[in-house]
Amino acid sequence: MEFIGGKLLQVVIALAAFAAIIGLIMLLVDKAPKSARDKATVIGFLAPAAILMLVGLVYPALQTSFIAFTDAKGQPNGVENFVWMFTQPEALVTLRNTVVWTVLVPLLSTVFGLAYAVFIDKARGEKILKALVFMPMAISFVGAGIIWKLVYDYRGPGIEQTGVLNALRVAMGMEPKQFLLDAPENTVFLIIVMVWIQTGFAMVVLSAAIKGVPVELVEAARLDGANPWQQFRNVTIPGIRGALVVVLTTITIATLKVFDIVRTMTAGNYDTSVVANEMYTQAFRAGEPGRGAALAVVLFLMVLPIVVYNARVLRQQREIR
C-alpha cells in the first residue's frame, strides 16, 4: 500500500499549499490600508482565477485565431480557410445541423429538467428519482455510446433485432429502421442522446434554484388561493429566472461544442456533421490545423448572440438591485 501513501501525500501537500495561498490572500486583503482595501480585494479575489484563465484559455484561443489564417504547412494564407469552409458542398448541411442542435437541445433539456425538478420536489424518494435522471450525466462517454447503440441498433428484416427500438417496431409489425442512416431524421436521433444527457444537468441546477425560492412567497401565494399552476407560474418561475438563463446558456454552449456524440455514433457521415465535429476532423484527422482553427473561430462567433443576451440580462439584474 506504499503507492497509496505517496499519492495521498501529494494530494495533502497540494491542498495545504492551496490553503496557504488563499489564506495569505485573505490576510493581505484584510490588512491592506483602508484607502486601498477595496482595490486589494478585487485584485486578491480575482487574480488567481484570472491568471489561470489567461494562460489556459485566452492564450490558446489567441493562438487558434492566428492558426486560422494559415495553411496546412503553417504558412499564412489569408482568408482561404474561411472561403473553403463556406464553399465545400456539405457546409450548408453542417451549419443547418448545428443550428438545429443548438435550438432543440437547450429547449428540450430545460423543459424536461424543469418539469421533472418541479414534479419531484418534496416527493417521497426525491433522491432516488433525481438519481435516475442524473445517471446519464454520470456515465462515462464510452458508456453512453454503447447505451445508445443498444437502443438504435439495426439488423436486416427477418433477423432478430438487438436494438430496443427496432425490436419494438418489429413487434408492432413494422419494418426495422436504420435510425442513424436515414437523413434528415438521423440528426434528431443524435440530438435525443444529448437531451438525455443534459436534462440531468438542467434538473440538478433548477432543483437547487427551486429550493432557493423563499418559502414565505410560495406560502403567501397559496394562502391567497393560487393553485399549483399559478404558484409555479407567478412565484417559482420568477424566482428561478436567473437559474433558467444560466441553464439555457450553459447547455447551448455545451451543444455548440458537442462533437463526441456525433463522432462515436456516425462520425459525421450521412449528413449528421456539426461544426465542432468538422473542427475536430480537420484539425486532428485530416492534418489541416488551419481549417480546424477557422472552424473554431466560427464557433466563437456563433456564441456571440448568447453573449449579447446574457449581457442584457445582467444589466437588467443590476438595475433591479
Binding site: 480585494t41 478585487v42 424536461f112 445517471m135 456515465i139 458508456g143 454503447i146 406560502e219 399552476w229 453573449v307
Partner: protein, 325 residues
C-alpha cells in the same frame, strides 16, 4: 405541463429536515413551521404520472447496459448476439465481465485499484480549487465595485466556448517547456482541469451569489465585516446548494475525462485515471467490446456516491427570513 389544483394537503410532514440545516442560526428555524405546512408530497396525479414516465424513459437505456454487463460475451457481440432483454428469457448470468475488468492485472499494468486512486487523487484537489477560486471570483463579479466589472464577467463567461481540443496542445507545450512542470505528476492534470473548469464555475456561482439579498451583505458591512469575512461567513454558507451542484458537476467532468488525461498524464500508470485504463481494457478495435458495459458501471459508482452524498446540501430556505417581503 398541466398541474391540476391540489386537493387539501395531507399532513405529510414526516420527512426529516436535512441535516445541513442544523446549526444554522435563527432564520431557518423560523421557516420550519411554514415548511411543515407546505405539502411534502406530490398532490397531482398528472404530475406524478409525468415524473414516473420521464424517469422510466430516461432509465431504460441505462438499464439495458446494466443488464448487458451481466451477459456472457457471446450473447453481447458477434453473430449469436441478441437483444439484452433476452437475458430475462435465457437467464445466462455471469459475473466474469466484472472480474475481468477489475482484476485483470496485465503483465506490465497494475490492477484497477491503482487507477482508481489516481482518479481520486486528481479529482478531489481539482474540485476544491475550482470551487474556492470560482466562488471568490463570482463574489467579486457580483458584489465588488470596480470599473469594467460587467464587461469582464461577460468575457469570462464567453470563455466557455473555447473548445478543449484547441487548448490542449499549446498548454502542454507551456507546461513542459516554459514551466518545466514534472511529467508524470498530478500537477499538470490539476492545473489543466482547474483552468478549464473556472469559466463555467464562475458563471454558475455568479448567478446564485448575485441573488443573495443586498441587505444581508449591507448589514454585515455596517457591523464592520470586511470582504473576506463577508465571503467566508455569509456568502459561502448561503451558497451551499449552488456549491453542491457545482461540486457534483466538476467532480463528474474530471472523473469522466479521458482527453485531458491522455494529453497530460504522459500515459504512465503513475498518474493515469481510471477512464484511461478502461479505454485500454476494452481495446481500440473493439476486440473486447463485451467488457464495456461492466467497465462503465465500475466507473459510475463513485460519481453516483458523490451525488447521493451531496444531496443533503440541497436544502430549502437558507435565505428564509432574509427577505423583508
Amino acid at each position: 405541463m398541466t398541474v391540476t389544483p391540489a386537493p387539501d394537503e395531507a399532513p405529510e410532514a414526516t420527512r426529516l429536515r436535512p441535516r445541513a440545516e442544523k446549526g444554522k442560526a435563527g432564520p431557518t428555524e423560523d421557516a420550519a413551521p411554514i415548511m411543515r405546512r407546505v405539502k411534502t408530497r406530490l398532490t397531482s396525479r398528472w404530475a406524478t404520472a409525468a415524473a414516473v414516465l420521464l424517469a422510466v424513459v430516461w432509465t431504460i437505456p441505462t438499464f439495458g447496459l446494466f443488464v448487458s454487463s451481466f451477459r456472457p460475451a457471446a450473447q453481447q457481440v458477434g453473430p449469436r448476439s441478441d437483444g439484452w432483454w433476452n437475458f430475462f428469457v435465457d437467464g445466462n448470468f455471469t459475473f466474469k465481465n466484472y472480474l475481468d475488468v477489475t482484476a485483470a492485472a496485465g503483465s506490465q499494468s497494475p490492477n484497477l485499484s491503482q487507477y482508481f486512486i489516481n482518479s481520486i487523487a486528481i479529482v478531489i484537489p481539482v474540485t476544491v480549487f475550482v470551487l474556492v477560486l470560482a466562488s471568490m471570483a463570482a463574489y467579486i463579479f457580483a458584489w465588488g465595485k470596480f470599473k469594467g466589472r460587467d464587461a469582464m464577467f461577460i468575457f469570462v463567461f464567453a470563455l466557455q466556448i473555447i473548445p478543449l481540443q484547441m487548448s490542449l496542445i499549446p498548454l502542454l507545450q507551456l507546461f513542459t517547456q516554459a514551466l518545466q512542470l514534472p511529467a508524470g505528476s498530478y500537477a499538470q492534470l490539476w492545473i489543466a482541469h482547474t483552468m478549464f473548469g473556472l469559466p463555467l464555475g464562475i458563471f454558475l456561482l455568479h448567478n446564485f451569489i448575485s441573488e443573495i439579498p443586498g441587505e444581508v451583505i449591507e448589514a454585515a458591512r455596517v457591523d464592520g465585516a470586511g470582504h473576506s469575512t463577508i465571503f467566508w461567513r455569509i456568502i459561502l454558507p448561503l451558497s451551499v446548494p449552488a456549491l453542491a451542484s457545482l461540486a457534483i458537476f466538476q467532480f463528474l467532468w474530471v472523473w469522466n475525462d479521458l482527453l485531458v488525461a491522455l494529453v497530460f498524464s504522459g500515459g504512465t500508470a503513475d498518474v493515469a485515471p481510471i477512464t484511461q485504463r478502461l479505454a485500454e481494457i476494452s481495446g481500440t478495435r473493439g476486440a473486447r467490446d463485451y467488457l464495456n458495459p461492466a467497465a462503465a458501471f465500475v466507473s459510475i459508482i463513485v460519481p453516483l456516491a458523490v451525488f447521493f452524498g451531496l444531496q443533503r446540501f440541497f436544502v430549502r430556505g437558507l435565505l428564509a427570513g432574509g427577505l423583508k417581503g
